[in-house]
Structures are given as structure tokens and as C-alpha cells.
Symmetry: C2
């Protein structure tokens, strides 16, 4: 044992193997290998009538699929008005499913029937006595592939402009969500999550092709930051970013900015819209990711090494602000380091 | 000893204390506490005549100080043409100083005489048999306060658009550079460094008020990314970002994009210009940083916890792509972890 021991290797534990993305690595130089598909961003009007909202979303998904979309994205909170008063009333028990969650039952049925992947925007979720702002991802088999609970709650106070405190009613999610689908590896965030570059970095390091952020920015932060943050996440991580907002309803308690957008891996806006209801259909070609990273190669190298450094220390990077989870995550990382160090000590490394 | 031992505390070593910024914490609510000053961005024309370049920069610094600037920023490579052929010819031995470095001697003299802080853009630096792309920061006492060697070299290849390989002649710097000055805590990057969000995050976590990036983007990446990256760094880190480019010279081998810019902590462009030679004078008010972070409070909390998580593991986050430095940094982090673990073991923690 001792003769085979290489202290340098022991000091740097092997990086965790990144899982292989489900989409074959597309080469821009080889057109036959390229994987090009259509995405639909459904910028839906949302009313106080939940049944209408569900039927309306179903019709939009059908329209999008009819136009060739293999991936359909819905807005944040598409089955309910966006308000702390509404969340408890419109919330559904997603885990129970069926009649307890008519919104996700519709998404599942539509995904299966139309043979598409759906990033189901978000709906208020009830789980025990807690409420979450939750995005469900359905595969073309109609099965729930991932469930993302908004990590960074929208607690904002710009005096005279916009004040909203989601944490009055909602609980923050605890986990990043990255999911393999028939249309690539997708990292999910909801609205305010897009402000946290760490989350996007973790997704990029794990091999995401596309980040999807259902989100309802407002009339203050929308013009200030909505496009900027999407383009920044895309350019910094050299991948696709898609956002989907509700259509603007100036009569609603919360006025959404709209402007659902698809951004390419150079940070370029590929498709966008104003604030009215519409369905954006646009093409995604993952071979462009490879091409952009060839142009500016250090970026990719940096990410790979960044995540390796993180993995080497078994640190789970904190992607959220909640103190409780910070402590939990730190404790987990410490425990893992301790176990690693214990093995190292047994090997006699000094 | 044993009775005083708290295993939870032992498992999470105390976060390193962040140094106190030199500028008194400015409160927007209390105007008397606010610290407002003028910054000058000198978008200089650069020629093949080094003596002319130095005299020209001196005059611009004097003009800027005459207009009330307390902080003057120069462009990337302001004493030399931007080319791999020129770097060895124009390079100066900054550490030797005096006649061996007339460019930095001028900066030092001007800073002292005019009682201002100078972020001296960058010049080619010779150190032994190596060349670096180096930014010197001088305090109003004329002393060299910091020296930043460009970490991320500009090795880019966009076929038919722009190809440049700095690493043909230059060596990459190894360290982030954050410096306390009379006008705040400033993080330094040079041009391509701005693409690496990790570097800006480290500076923000260490309490920077302002990031300064002397940089010469080009006619391809300039329109694509120059403003986007500045606004992203500012908005994501909620601090000021200043950039300074050479003026455009379409007759030069490398055509700079220009567009020197000051961005505020909401990601808003406060002052900018086109590509001709000019001096931008603009006001900076650090109390706006506090205000922006009050508006969107999770961001700051997140940074503090992010850096604490990093510190808890004694991980030095990798801010560059070079493999060699990755290994070095990992080894340092491993060593520190090992020492920490050793002490922990002595305390009997399991």
C-alpha cells in the first residue's frame, strides 16, 4: 500500500465526475451532430380565475407544440394572482397530485400527450403547513422530472417604488435544481433567484446547457435589471438563458414587467417581446455553446477548475442567504472534510 | 480545557475578520457622513513615442486634478502600442524604479504633487526574464500602494474577427489585488480580468467600494460585452465599477473600442463616452452602496456568508484558469485545512 501511495494525489482528492449531459456533445463544425430545437416562452395573462388560468395555459402549450416547440416554458405564478393574499388560496399539494394539484396534472397530461418537455413556470405549493413558490419540470413521458422551490424569496423595499415581502407567506427552497431532459441539461431558478450569480455558476459547473428562470419582475426592477441579469448569466457562464414572465396587467395588485427573453451563450438577445400576452418561439443550437467557449477558452477552463477546487474541499458553495441553511451546509462540508482528512491521516500524510 | 470546549464552534472556525474599509461608513440618511468625490477616467490616445505618451498622460492627470478629481484612472497599456512586438521594447522594471521605470516615476511624482490617488492603467512590466501587464496604484503621498499583474491573459480567437495571444510574450499574474486608498477600498482588474465574475466576487466579499478595470476591448468584443460586463459586475456585487480604455486609433495594429465608463451600484451607467480622446469626470457617492444593499438586502447577506463559507474551509477560491496556480492554491488550501484538522484532532473532536 505504502509504495503505491502518491502524497500529491492524496492531498487533492479526485474531482467528482461531472455527469454526462444527455444531449450528445454537438459540434458546430459537424452539422450532422448538431442538436437544434425550438423553445416556446408563453407570456400568459393571469386572472383571479384558476380554472380559466389552467385552461388558458393548456391552450398556450398546445399552440406552442403545434408550432414545433419541443420545450415550453410558463411564467412565474401562472395559476394565481401574484400576492401574499392569493398564495395560500391558490396553493396546491403537488406531492399529493391528482385532484390536489389540477395545475400540475394539466402540465403532466399536456407534456405526455404532446410529447414535449415543460418547464411549468411556478405555482404556489402547499406542503404540510408551508407554502413554496415552486416550478415543476415534466418530461415527454408526463413524469415529474424535477421540482424547484424558489430559493431566494422576493423581499424587497425600494421606498416609493416597490415593496414586496414574499417571506410573509412563503418558505424558501433549499436546493439548486438541475435536471436532465430530452432537450438538454437545464438549471432552474425562479425570478429573484436570477440575482444570485453563485447559483448560475453552480449550474454551469455542473454542465447545464440552459438556465430557465420563470420570473415576474416589476416596473422598477424590470427596466433596471431584467435584461441585464439574463445577459450577464448567459455571457458569464457561456450558455443559454430563457426567462418567462406573465403578461402585464396594470389592473393587478402587482404589475409584471413582461419582456420574456431568450439569450444566447455570447450574452446576445435572440428573441424577446414587450409586455403583452404572446408566445415567443425561438431556436436553440447547443453547438453554439461549444463554439463560444472555443473563442474564449479560459472561461470554460476556469469553471471546470473552480468546481474542482470546490469539490476538492468538498465545500458545497452557499447559494442562498438563509442563515439556517448556511450553518447546515457548512456542517455537511465540515463533516465531509473531516472524513476525508481522517482517511488521509490513516495514510500517514503529514 | 475540555469543559470549555464547544464542538460546534470547533467545527466551524471563526470567519476571518474583514478589514475595516478606510472610508468611514457613509449613511445616505445622514448627509454629513457622506463621502462624495470626483473620479477622472482619462481615455488617452497612445502612440509609438513613449516619451510623448508619458508627457501626454502627465498633462491629462494634471487636467483631471485641476477639475477636482481625487482619483484618476488611466487606460490599459498607455505608454506603448498594444502589441506583442511592443511589449518587450516598452517594458519597464517597476521594482527597480527611477530611470528604469520613467512611466511609474511620473505617476508617483504626479500623485504626490497633485495630492491625488492614481490607478495607473497598465504598462508592460519587466521582472527578471518575464513580462507582465501591470497596473500600479499610487497614493497621494506618491507611494506605490499596489501592483496588479493581469491575471487572465487575453488569448482569444474569434475567426475572421479578432485573434490575439498575450501569452506569447506575457506571463499571467497570480494574485487578486485589493487596495485601501484615500478614496475607498478598490479592487483592480485589467481588461480580460473583467470576464471572471469570481474575481469581482472576491473583491466584493472583501469590502471593495469600487472595482477599476483599465481595459482595451476591441471592435468585436467591445460592442458585444464591454458595457454588459461592467454593468453585471456592478449590479451583481452592488458596488461601483470604473473602466478606462485607450482612445481608438484605427491606424493602430490593435483597434481599441473606447467607451470608458463609470457604473453605479444598481448597474446603472453614470458616465460614459464614445471612442475619441477625452477625460470623463464623474461623482462617486459611496453611501449609495449602502442604500442599494438596503433595497435588496439578501445580496449583501449572501456575499458575507459566501465568503465566510469559503473562509470556514480555508479555501482560497480559484480566480484564474492557469493550471499551475490551481494546483498551488489547492495545495495551500489543503495545507491550511490539514493544520486546522490537526488542531481539531488534538481537541478530540470526532
Amino acid at each position: 500500500m505504502a509504495s503505491a501511495f502518491d502524497p500529491e494525489k492524496a492531498r487533492v482528492p479526485p474531482a467528482l465526475q461531472l455527469p454526462k449531459p444527455p444531449v450528445t456533445k454537438a459540434s458546430h463544425a459537424d452539422p450532422s451532430s448538431r442538436f437544434i430545437f425550438k423553445i416556446a416562452l408563453c407570456q400568459l395573462s393571469v386572472t383571479a380565475d384558476k380554472e380559466r388560468n389552467i385552461a388558458h395555459a393548456r391552450k398556450a402549450i398546445e399552440d406552442a407544440a403545434g408550432k414545433g416547440a419541443q420545450l415550453v416554458v410558463l411564467p412565474e405564478i401562472w395559476n394565481s394572482p401574484y400576492s401574499n393574499d392569493s398564495f395560500p388560496v391558490y396553493a396546491e399539494d403537488i406531492d399529493a397530485g391528482g385532484d390536489a394539484s389540477p395545475s400540475t396534472a394539466m402540465l403532466s397530461e399536456a407534456a405526455h400527450r404532446l410529447q414535449i418537455t415543460i418547464i411549468g413556470g411556478s405555482i404556489p405549493e402547499r406542503c404540510g403547513d408551508r407554502l413554496y413558490n415552486t416550478c415543476c419540470v415534466f418530461g415527454k413521458d408526463g413524469k415529474l422530472r424535477a421540482k424547484h422551490r424558489k430559493i431566494h424569496l422576493f423581499d424587497i423595499d425600494i421606498p416609493g417604488k416597490i415593496t414586496f415581502v414574499e417571506s410573509k407567506t412563503l418558505t424558501a427552497g433549499e436546493n439548486p435544481t438541475i435536471v436532465d431532459t430530452d432537450v438538454g441539461r437545464i438549471g432552474i431558478g425562479i425570478c429573484y433567484d436570477i440575482r444570485f450569480q453563485e447559483l448560475a455558476m453552480v449550474y454551469a459547473a455542473r454542465g447545464a446547457h440552459l438556465l430557465c428562470y420563470p420570473g415576474a419582475f416589476n416596473m422598477t426592477t424590470g427596466p433596471l435589471h431584467w435584461e441585464l441579469l439574463q445577459r450577464a448569466r448567459a455571457a458569464d457562464n457561456q450558455l443559454y438563458v430563457a426567462t418567462c414572465s406573465p403578461a402585464r396587467d396594470t389592473g393587478a395588485g402587482y404589475t409584471a414587467w413582461g419582456h420574456s427573453t431568450l439569450v444566447g451563450p455570447f450574452g446576445e438577445v435572440l428573441a424577446t417581446t414587450e409586455h403583452e400576452e404572446t408566445i415567443i418561439i425561438a431556436e436553440i443550437d447547443y453547438s453554439l455553446i461549444e463554439l463560444r467557449r472555443q473563442f474564449i477558452p479560459d472561461k470554460l477552463a476556469n469553471y471546470v477548475e473552480w468546481v474542482h477546487a470546490v469539490q476538492a474541499q468538498r465545500v458545497i458553495i452557499i447559494v442562498r442567504g438563509a442563515k439556517k441553511n448556511f450553518d447546515q451546509t457548512t456542517a455537511i462540508a465540515q463533516k465531509e472534510m473531516h472524513e476525508y482528512q481522517h482517511q488521509e491521516n490513516k495514510l500517514g500524510v503529514q
